[in-house]
């Protein structure tokens, strides 16, 4: 690993984002709008305080997944990846450079949405608010790393977009938001045990109800998923192709 090339790549990806004002607007505006809609349909109050915290992580996760897989796919389809693969940059520096840049974007996005939800929409959690922010950021970073890993499965941007419902919707159904995980059929619960989103939702539910929540086991599992998905993203990048 070469930190200089990792940072050069991260800087380049952020410069690309900076040139795209509409995407920055969508990145921050869409989850903020969605949280407002959620607040509106539940008329604020108790149900919003239950459904809000998990969705505060899930909305950014979905958006970051899409942005990451399409950006990475663009690198592949425009030939810049092939050019880079002939140059002295390690695959890890490239993938981690993307992760750092888009992770930073995820941090800004989540910070804005969480601040807005807590102060403007009066989202109430029993636990400390910084824990809510931490888990939401981790969920968004999970979205980034899932996007990096998934982009190697897709040949076109058209396919990459379709991996969103394929990889994220099952996690959404099984994460315990619609049906508590311990009330699912045993097999469904077993599957949900190996999906990263389940741990993010477990942790955030704990923060929502417990004044002194223990989230570190979940945070550790999410961290392990992030590292594993990054490794998958690096290993699935091939210098030589058919």
């Amino acid at each position: 690993m070469n930190p200089r090339l990792l940072l050069a790549t991260a800087g380049r990806v952020l410069a690309q984002l900076r040139h795209d004002h509409r995407t920055i607007g969508l990145l921050v505006g869409v989850p903020t709008l969605l949280m407002t809609l959620l607040w509106w349909i539940y008329d604020g109050g108790g149900v919003f305080d239950q459904a809000g915290p998990p969705l505060l992580g899930i909305f950014p996760m979905v958006i970051m997944f899409l942005i990451t897989s399409v950006t990475m796919l663009r690198e592949r389809t425009t030939g810049t990846l092939e050019r880079l693969m002939t140059m002295p940059i390690r695959r890890a520096d490239l993938v981690l450079g993307y992760a750092v840049a888009l992770g930073f974007a995820a941090l800004l996005q989540t910070a804005v949405v969480a601040t807005f939800s807590i102060w403007a929409l009066d989202l109430q959690v029993a636990g400390p608010e910084w824990m809510l922010l931490l888990i939401s950021v981790l969920s968004a970073v999970l979205g980034v790393t899932m996007g990096l890993a998934a982009s190697s499965l897709a040949r076109t941007e058209f396919q990459a977009v379709q991996f969103m419902p394929a990889l994220l919707f099952p996690q959404f159904l099984l994460c315990g938001l619609l049906v508590p995980r311990d009330q699912m059929p045993a097999a469904a619960e077993a599957i949900s045990d190996v999906l990263p989103l389940s741990y993010a939702v477990d942790a955030v539910k704990e923060v929502a109800v417990a004044p002194d929540p223990t989230i570190w086991p979940e945070v550790l599992v999410i961290g392990a998923f992030i590292i594993g998905l990054l490794a998958l993203g690096i290993l699935s990048l091939r210098r030589r192709s058919a």
């Binding site: 200089r4 090339l5 050069a8 790549t9 800087g11 380049r12 410069a15 690309q16 040139h19 795209d20 425009t78 030939g79 810049t80 092939e82 050019r83 880079l84 693969m85 002939t86 140059m87 002295p88 940059i89 210098r239 030589r240 192709s241 058919a242």
Partner: protein, 243 residues
């Protein structure tokens, strides 16, 4: 081993992709400090051969040796410049931002960015976003990136497509001066009059090497004088075929 001193040695290279054979037992050598033209109809295997030389093509059999190392070896990665067929640059960055990033990846000095911008005559567009450039300007951004760090081998896949005759002349003059100062160049082209600017020509057809020689040699072999006719004759009849 065909030639110890050659910049590039391709030895019985075969590439099978799915059910099609993109290259069949191709052998050739490129002498250092020469400008070689790679010609052939589309689908002949030109891009596959170039990808094999820069080390991003999976090989079925045979070997490719570049500057005495296996193609794609880590030591070669700052010594080989490659221009892909479609201009490869980040559309949402400026010309200078693109080149600055590639220069950092190559470990090339920052001053190289301005040098290559001048070499491809993009001084006026240096701070323009690539998306807003014309097709010809974009392909020159791609070429500029390949010139960063003074590579010893340049592999250029149709670098002059879509360029006007004046720019084409200027770029071929640039290629010539690079070869004269010690770089080895392999340039693919569809435009037959560009063949006259090369030291040597390689002609691919259907994944096989059909002809390998100077334009004068190929003119003598085919009995044709016009490069276009030499090419068509070779495609239709092969080497030694009756006119």
């Amino acid at each position: 081993m065909m030639n110890q001193s050659a910049a590039v040695v391709v030895d019985r290279l075969t590439v099978v992709r799915g059910t099609t054979t993109a290259l069949r037992e191709v052998s050739l050598a490129l002498e250092p400090a020469t400008l070689t033209g790679l010609l052939g109809p589309s689908g002949a295997g030109k891009t596959t051969l170039m990808r094999a030389i820069v080390g991003v093509q999976r090989l079925t059999s045979g070997t490719v040796t570049v500057l005495a190392h296996p193609a794609g070896a880590p030591v070669l990665r700052d010594r080989v410049g490659y221009v892909t067929q479609d201009p490869s640059a980040y559309a949402d960055l400026t010309v200078r931002q693109n080149l600055r990033y590639f220069a950092r990846v190559l470990g090339a000095p920052a001053a190289d960015v301005d040098r290559v911008i001048g070499q491809v005559e993009l001084d006026g567009q240096a701070d323009q976003v690539v998306q807003t450039l014309s097709g010809g300007e974009r392909s020159r951004v791609s070429l500029a990136a390949a010139l960063l760090g003074d590579p010893q081998l340049l592999v250029l896949d149709e670098p002059t497509v879509g360029l006007d005759p004046v720019l084409r002349r200027d770029l071929w003059a640039l290629f010539r001066s690079l070869a004269d100062t010690g770089a080895t160049l392999l340039v693919s082209s569809h435009v037959m009059d560009e063949a006259t600017r090369c030291d040597r020509l390689l002609l691919l057809r259907g994944g096989g090497l059909l002809a390998d020689g100077t334009l004068a040699e190929l003119q003598a072999q085919t009995g044709q004088s016009d490069p276009e006719q030499v090419f068509l004759h070779l495609i239709d009849h092969g080497i030694g075929g009756a006119a």
